[in-house]
Symmetry: C2
Subunit: 333 residues, 2 copies
């Protein structure tokens, strides 16, 4: 890989695509050129990058000639259609969709957890994990190193940004309609999201779990290399704009101790402890909005199981849950 690669963002006008551009800029990512790609509808739009104005180009199968790294965040369909052709043109694809995550020949990477996995990408594609999975594992991986993770029970509080820019617009428009005494329109979510919570994220599968709920199981096993890891998850959309929160009960192989558990976050990259509840110190979604670090708090001994902790993990879904993690993967290359 060239030290100053040519980079492209596919889905450059979406919520995650916009954040990818911001992350590349903020992190002084060394690159020779940045190409912004999107659907024909968005082509021609001007976006700034490092003081320059870039014109969004229409995504085609020829878009990837000469591109070294392509960050995809335009949905699974676009990834399936354009990812392999980009990869066979010699471009390294870092894909934010779920399209390739469970392919055994495609690494699934959280740079703070399994950076070495990027070295083995025979298809020239690396997958970015699901946002809730990244955020949960940022909290759990340090505990796993110390105590050996056995199972996870999680309930999520997921922001509307997880549905992209349209999710954010839906919440804003519903709030405006309610303030004006107008009826609420449903476009993105099956039920009103304003002043409500919805226990559905992604489609339902045959066993009653949603695809989103099964991702923490399947992707968690792959990222941590734990084939026996058990995970049961309830994913819920809440009227929050950007950051996801996750309430976790984690069972470990070894006996756990709350003080030792808190100590595992010292000097860790990408995750910080914020845990002094009797002094009002615990993380909330607004604490991580627009920030890189995931935050962990409310660590305590679970009252049902031995060797188990309850904890609360918060992270910016658009940033560490998506754009930042993808840019960090690019940095590893």
């Amino acid at each position: 890989m060239s030290e100053t690669p040519k980079v492209a963002i596919v889905g450059a006008t979406g919520a995650v695509g916009e954040e990818m551009r911001l992350c590349l800029e903020e992190r002084d990512f060394p690159l020779e050129s940045l190409t912004l790609l999107a659907s024909a509808r968005s082509a021609g739009k001007k976006l700034s990058f490092r003081g320059e104005e870039l014109t969004v180009k229409e995504l085609t199968h020829d878009s990837f000639e000469g591109i070294d790294i392509a960050l995809f965040s335009a949905g699974g369909g676009i990834s399936l259609t354009f990812g392999p052709s980009a990869a066979s043109a010699g471009c390294m694809v870092i894909d934010n969709s779920s399209a390739f995550r469970m392919d055994p020949e495609i690494p699934l990477v959280v740079p703070e957890i399994n950076p070495e996995a990027v070295k083995n990408a025979p298809k020239n594609i690396i997958a970015n994990p699901n946002c809730s999975t990244i955020i949960a594992l940022m909290g759990l991986a340090p505990l796993h190193e110390a105590f050996g993770l056995r199972s996870i029970i999680a309930s999520t509080y997921q922001a509307v940004s997880g549905s992209g820019a349209q999710g954010i617009v839906e919440l804003e428009e519903q709030m405006k309609a309610l303030a004006a005494g107008q009826p609420v329109e449903l476009k993105v979510y099956p039920r009103q999201i304003a002043f409500n919570v919805i226990p559905q994220v992604d489609a339902f599968t045959d066993n009653g779990y949603t695809k989103e709920e099964l991702k923490m199981l399947n992707e968690g096993r792959k990222i941590l290399g734990l084939d026996e890891l058990k995970v049961s998850c309830t994913c819920v959309r809440v009227p929050v704009f950007r950051s996801h929160s996750i309430s976790i009960t984690a069972q470990f192989e070894k006996p756990v101790d709350v003080e030792a558990a808190k100590a595992v976050y010292e000097n860790r990259a990408g995750v910080k402890l914020m845990d002094d509840p009797s002094n009002g110190v615990f993380p909330v979604p607004l604490d991580t909005t627009g920030k890189d670090d995931c935050l962990v708090g409310r660590i305590r001994k679970n009252l049902v199981f031995s060797n188990a902790l309850d904890l609360w993990v918060v992270g910016d879904q658009v940033r560490k849950g998506a754009a930042l993690n993808a840019v960090q993967i690019a940095e590893l290359l």
Copy 2:
């Protein structure tokens, strides 16, 4: 007890007190008179009941002469100060605060679950359980009868009504401030609740759990008569006005089956199944707002433990979680 008792509501101008008046009216509760009691600040206020206008009176130690049933919902301090004197004046106190719930001589009652407990109230006080506990147990009690409940892991999504009228005002005012580009004021909650979630309900205790989180353990054991029941809970405030939602993992003594679990809700009073997720059927907080019934959905086999189910229970916190349950206790008398 007289067949048409004289009833008083203590805290008549609060969110739950207002709802108690509404429940007495809607349910044609047979009563000879209704006395509305509140602090000196609210005394003199006029409130309607069955077409009549009633004047709120100031609560004093003499308020309970001749009263048969007093529904208290004015906080634990008021209950501790005025409850015993009301009870010793011969009035049956039904108390919505946490002041008396764990007293072994005071029954703690959910009428659909342990109605027989009202018969043994030697102190003339009956306690109304915590709102999240009532709602969780409305979902769990039928499953307990069928499979034998062993443990509960719960994460809550609690409405601002749980903090009374002031919680509702706080969310409304923060929304208005944000819409106007003004700074948000914090009066009730430690952090902004608008477009945020807060993993703190009630005060923290030494083991890192909040009082609210321990209520589901202690009150659950007492209501179900299960001394060995294990419960671990994470209570979270969300920007929803009235209904609480609870994500539950419940482990049972006997093997469970999803279809058999769904069948336990047939012909149950106070709880209904709403569970056909692939057709978009699952309960959300707006479904139960202002309604009597709790709703259960998303029943599925937990993927971590044997004999365990995951489920999602929703109920109106002001109504079944407080006012309605208290009025139902009065009906048992």
